[in-house]
């Protein structure tokens, strides 16, 4: 028997019709011709003749097509679809590959068509995916820019950094002499230099560079030249300006070449300006220097073992690896430790280890963990969005069964149906990806604006080609992920059952189970996210609940740069003695004091100051305790509002002995255990003539000088006039009656009235510093909370949908129960019980997952353990409540099940 379908299809030139009617018509006409043919055969006519007779039933195929098309005009596709179908047919004529392409084209068209039929469904799906993909893409672009993109230098993978802090120059010389792994090994001394001679004194960020430093980072000049060999001789006197500083300070005037700047009181001549594209490693993390000054490695002032100033960078030579360089360096240090123990051994006698780090790792090490955490969190969010979309597709699948059954019946095999459904998922995903890119652009912008200065290399973050490829990949992956389950379900449909029943039935039981499984997964993942967010939030609350131990709300601070070039000890004393009364005379100022640093002037783990660690306590026991010595003027504690027990440091005679000191509670605990420290005499403050006799006059407790998370570190307060005036680090603390921000200008004026050449780039309110100090944890917890909130919403939506579906599917059963006398409450319980089971399963898995996953946040927590039971319980209760809440509407529907419906269905 002839293949009538192919016969008809080849002759009947029908346009593609809505709802696959063209396929149906071909099949029906073919069936008619086949029936005719069989009738002829039954009459004993030979097959060939019977076929001819049947075929003759249609004399004019074109006329038939015209008449059918006329009858079907309301099912005609729009012109565009027709055009697409024509192209698909063209493709089909080009062999097997063309047929596949044609199939794809048609699948895309079907998908678009179904989108037009259900715009609401499409909008929701694409929105969900767009948000998920967008958030993921935004975080990825940050990760890419910060961690993955290679640095903008020639062969960046060969650049290394010596991780071990700053090194004294003689040690640098040892490294240079005893290593061979580097094509270049050079360094920089980052310093702040005061530039006087302009309108106002300015503080410049300077990099005092060893030979080849600028060349190592591919520096080129805009005007002038880089350093020559003779520039590196003697005291620093030749400078190259960065492009930014050239624009900012000199308006891009080329006349600066040859000009002399007074930096820290010394004349330095400008020989060149770097081009705009140059960025040193410090520049990459947003701290570009204004000026680079040539530093002679032989400069005699640096030839001491205790001046830790130079940071080292190198370029590995041919064939050298980081690992080999590390081994070489370890061996060199071990060897040299015998020759120069003061350089290579610490005070404890151990070797001072140095790690050779790839430059990029050294720049981004601090945020690597946090960014990975964010990427993981946002990935979870995307997975939840996928589960949600899969759920939506499954729910809709029921309505589409008939269409699928028809397709499957008219010769679409399972593979074809699978292909169609997957094509559709991928279209959703790609549309979501497109929206996601828009979301990502906004997200990255927001991230940059919000970035609490914590993330290095943030300038390099951009939604660029790499990120777009990522977004595309994620979209495709997502499409497969959320499309797979519904597609497999679709392909498994029992076709004949479906057709017989008019497309109402389906594997409802199976489908319900799959949907519930998806909801369990959603709840579990949402719980993991919630736990992470909860922990960070809890930690943030703990952190901000820490009492700083002083009155931050009414405190302003000023860094006074009384540099060595213009001030000696006496000049500083005179300056401060004249300054304090003037400051206290400003209206709104309650008190003022000078110290080495003001609380929160330095935060984030660095404790800048004067360190001493040898003490002998009142019982003669020698105690080693690293301690910051803080010289303060009388009234310092009252000025900052600290909790002081005992006496303040009064102005004391220069030779008073024992020297009166105030100690922090932690220092007292360390030296005197639980003996009352006040009045005790001990030894410390190592001077050339040995340890000094000290007497405790007061104890200050709970003063968080270096940040809320830094505890109450051991500190020793001494008289500024006696111990602080000879040191350049000086700061002014001012207590105000009202808002301290309001008097900052008056503070500047008062200082400049005394000395117009004091650079004042660091005038601040302490409360603002305090806010900055918690900005990073706040940022991460806020970000994670927003992810978790979205996850919670999605999971709630998931359980709502699943329960609604269950109620729909069990409507008949519920009606029968109602008919048999079950009251509404009983029916509500029935549905809530099912919801509770799903939720409980999700919570159980989620808690397990959270216990593993929250290890990732451990290092970011303050005062909260990563497995904090209170947090876990709180988020589990929250998730459970939300899940049950989301089931209330479906349950309420169940309660209204109508007993009459049960009869009607029978």
């Amino acid at each position: 028997m002839r293949d009538w379908k192919a016969y008809v299809r080849a002759r009947l030139g029908l346009p593609a019709l809505r709802g696959l009617r063209d396929e149906r018509i071909v099949e029906e006409l073919a069936g008619q011709l086949e029936d005719l043919c069989r009738t002829h055969l039954a009459r004993g006519i030979p097959e060939a003749e019977a076929e001819e007779l049947a075929a003759a039933d249609v004399t004019d195929w074109d006329e038939l097509a015209r008449r059918i098309t006329s009858a079907e005009r309301k099912n005609l596709p729009p012109a565009a679809a027709e055009w697409v179908e024509d192209r698909a047919r063209d493709l089909e004529r080009r062999g097997a590959l063309g047929a596949v392409a044609a199939e794809l084209v048609r699948n895309i068209r079907y998908a678009l068509r179904s989108a037009r039929r259900e715009p609401g469904f499409w909008a929701v799906t694409v929105l969900l995916l767009g948000l998920g993909i967008g958030a993921t893409t935004a975080i990825f672009s940050v990760v890419d820019g910060v961690l993955l993109k290679s640095l903008p230098y020639h062969e960046p993978e060969r650049l290394v950094y010596f991780d071990g802090g700053s090194f004294p120059m003689p040690r640098v010389a040892d490294f240079v002499e005893h290593t061979t792994s580097y094509a270049t090994l050079t360094g920089v001394w980052d310093d702040e230099l005061d530039w006087t001679g302009g309108d106002r004194p300015l503080q410049l960020n300077a990099g005092l560079v060893l030979p080849e430093y600028l060349e190592l980072f591919d520096a080129r000049v805009e005007v002038g030249r880089l350093f020559l060999e003779q520039d590196f001789q003697g005291a620093p006197y030749r400078a190259v300006l960065s492009w930014g500083a050239w624009q900012r300070l000199f308006g891009g005037d080329t006349g600066v070449l040859g000009r002399s700047l007074t930096l820290d009181g010394n004349p330095v001549q400008i020989v060149g300006v770097l081009d705009e594209g140059f960025s040193s490693p410090a520049g990459l993390i947003g701290r570009e220097r204004d000026v680079f000054v040539a530093l002679d490695p032989q400069w005699e002032e640096l030839q001491v073992p205790w001046f830790f100033v130079v940071e080292l960078y190198g370029r590995l030579g041919d064939g050298a690896t980081t690992g080999a360089a590390q081994s070489e360096l370890d061996a060199a240090i071990a060897r040299l430790a015998d020759v120069h123990p003061q350089l290579h051994r610490g005070r404890d006698g151990n070797l001072r280890a140095v790690t050779v780090l790839p430059l990029q790792t050294s720049l981004t090490g601090s945020v690597r963990g946090s960014l990975r955490l964010l990427l993981g969190a946002v990935g979870l969010l995307l997975l939840i969005a996928c589960a949600n979309v899969a759920n939506l597709l499954l729910a809709r699948g029921t309505e589409r069964h008939h269409e699928l059954a028809v397709r499957s019946a008219i010769g679409g095999g399972r593979v074809r149906i699978l292909a169609q459904l997957l094509t559709e998922s991928l279209m959703y995903a790609l549309a979501g990806g497109l929206l996601g890119v828009v979301v990502a652009i906004g997200g990255v912008r927001a991230f940059e604006v919000w970035n609490p200065s914590g993330i290095p290399l943030i300038e390099r973050v951009a939604v660029d080609g790499r990120v777009l490829v990522f977004a595309l990949a994620v979209s495709l992956l997502t499409g497969v992920l959320f499309g797979a389950a519904p597609a497999l379900q679709g392909a498994r449909l029992n076709v004949s059952a479906m057709l017989k029943e008019g497309g109402r039935a389906g594997d409802g039981r199976d489908r319900g189970r799959l949907r519930r499984t998806l909801v369990v997964v959603e709840i579990a993942m949402a719980l993991v996210l919630l736990t992470g967010a909860g922990l960070l939030f809890h930690s943030f609350l703990r952190l901000t609940a820490v009492r700083p131990g002083f009155d931050a709300a009414h405190l302003a601070g000023v860094e006074l740069r009384l540099g060595e070039d213009r001030y000696d000890e006496q000049a500083r004393l005179q300056f401060v003695r004249r300054l304090l009364p003037r400051i206290e005379g400003i209206p709104g100022v309650r008190a003022a004091a000078v110290s080495m640093s003001v609380p929160f002037q330095y935060y984030g783990g660095s404790r800048s100051g004067w360190w001493q660690d040898r003490y002998v306590n009142d019982e003669g026991a020698e105690i080693e305790q690293a301690t910051v010595i803080q010289p303060v003027t009388p009234g310092f504690f009252a000025t900052i509002g600290a909790d002081l027990r005992g006496d303040d440091l009064a102005s004391s005679a220069p030779d008073e002995s024992p020297i009166p000191v105030v100690v922090s509670q932690s220092f007292a605990d360390r030296l005197f255990d639980d003996r009352n420290p006040i009045g005790r005499v001990f030894q410390g403050l190592q001077q050339r003539d040995g340890l000094q006799q000290l007497r405790v006059v007061g104890v200050v407790s709970g003063l968080r000088h270096w940040g809320l998370d830094q505890g109450d570190p051991p500190m020793l307060y001494v008289s500024w006039e006696r111990w602080g005036a000879d040191f350049f680090m000086t700061a002014l603390a001012v207590r105000t009656a009202g808002d301290p921000a309001a008097i900052l200008p008056a503070l500047r004026d008062a200082i400049w009235e005394l000395d117009p050449d004091v650079p004042l780039s660091n005038v601040f309110t302490v409360s603002q510093r305090m806010a900055q100090s918690v900005a990073t944890p706040k940022f991460y917890s806020a970000l994670l909370i927003s992810f978790a909130a979205v996850a919670l919403l999605l999971a709630a939506g998931g359980i709502y949908g699943a329960m609604l579906y269950t109620v729909g599917r069990r409507r008949h059963e519920l009606a029968v129960r109602a008919a048999l006398g079950a009251d509404g409450r009983r029916l509500v319980q029935l549905i809530l019980w099912q919801s509770a089971r799903v939720t409980a399963a999700g919570l159980a898995i989620g808690i397990g997952g959270a216990l593993i996953a929250t290890r990732a946040v451990r290092s970011m927590l303050f005062g909260v353990s990563a497995t904090d039971p209170a947090t876990l319980a709180a988020v589990a209760v929250l998730m459970g409540t939300v899940a049950l809440g989301a089931s209330l509407v479906p349950a309420w529907r169940a309660a209204r099940a109508n007993p009459v419906e049960a009869m009607r269905a029978e």
Binding site: E28, G31, L64
Partner: protein
């Protein structure tokens, strides 16, 4: 054999009437018309199906695929509620029309 114009005026009424008895597929419809008309009225693919499709698109009839054991799937048509109304109206009109035509051409020939 009757002229196509004559058939055209009555085909919808015939199809609706037949489907009023029971759901039927297209081939069966053609045969039923042929048998009941004593072989006088015959439809082929070209004349029957465009009409069926137009009626379906107008919502008078609706087709559903049904597969019976050992048989090819066939599309069975049945009357919709609209179709039933249309059938009643067309029957009334047809009766009135033929009566009127008979009066004109001479009732004895009817």
């Amino acid at each position: 054999m009757f002229s196509p114009e004559l058939k055209k005026g009555s085909v919808e009424l015939m199809i609706l009437s037949l489907l009023d008895d029971q759901p039927t597929h297209g081939y069966e419809l053609g045969k039923l018309i042929e048998v009941r008309s004593g072989g006088e009225i015959q439809f082929n693919v070209s004349s029957l199906y465009p009409v069926l499709y137009r009626m379906e698109n107008d919502g008078w009839i609706s087709g559903r695929w049904v597969e019976k054991p050992g048989e090819r799937r066939r599309c069975y048509y049945r009357l919709t509620r609209t179709g039933r109304d249309v059938l009643a109206e067309q029957r009334r009109q047809w009766a009135a029309y033929t009566a009127a035509v008979n009066l004109v051409i001479g009732g004895s020939h009817a």
